[in-house]
Amino acid sequence: MQVTVKYFASLRELMGEDSSVIDVEDNTSVDDLWQSVTASKNVAFDNVMMAVNMEYVKSDHQLKSGDEVAFFPPVTGG
């Protein structure tokens, strides 16, 4: 199945792209995807925040086909 992955702020710069469509296997968690995308680009990043379909999720959240996944650093608005 395919999911769309988006990156924001400093993480977007580290990853060198703002989004991509990625093939993942069934029963993939959002953390599995995070480990996979960072390993493929040899990126180390602590304190990542994770969202699926624009809602915060825990790292063991299971992905579904067509999900929009977002990875980003701690937020600094206001």
């Binding site: 924001f8 702020a9 624009m54 977002a70 937020v75 600094t76 608005g77 206001g78």
Partner: protein
């Protein structure tokens, strides 16, 4: 209720005045609490010349609405206003305005504080500051409590 993300500069006090004048709850509210966040020219001993504020289109709006909804479910509020800048921010620009209206001060004070603290810790915005030593992302917000 109004929740907006603005690319253009705004004057928080003018926004607050014009929004309140448009409210159809005259006589009902006895308390208005507001918070205005404004761009400084320094951060952690560094001189800052300007900054850029990024957001996650779609999620940021959705999340701000959820924060406001949670506040209206927790306190007896008559209205909520949240404005937040994105894009290039100059020194002394207003960055954020949060205001709440209620019959009594307890609800207004507490809800305004909660909305602001939730926004600071969970709403998807990111600041990149331009300093004399180059541009750098702000790594975390200062603690509010």
């Amino acid at each position: 209720m109004l929740i907006e993300i603005r690319k253009e500069p705004f004057n928080a006090w003018q926004e607050l005045q014009s929004y309140q004048e448009g409210l159809k709850i005259t006589g009902q509210y006895g308390a208005t609490a507001s918070f205005v966040g404004t761009m400084r020219d320094f951060n952690e001993d560094k001189k800052v010349t300007h900054m850029t504020l990024e957001h996650y289109p779609g999620m940021t709006e959705k999340h701000l609405n959820a924060i406001a909804k949670e506040a209206t479910e927790t306190w007896n509020l008559l209205d909520v206003l949240i404005l937040h800048r994105i894009g290039r921010i100059n020194i002394s620009d207003d960055i954020v305005l949060v205001a709440t209206w209620s019959a009594h001060r307890k609800e207004a004070f507490e809800s305004c504080r909660r909305i602001m603290e939730e926004l600071k810790s969970t709403a998807p915005f990111w600041k990149k500051e331009d300093t004399q030593s180059g541009a750098q992302w702000v790594e975390k917000n200062t603690s509010g409590y």
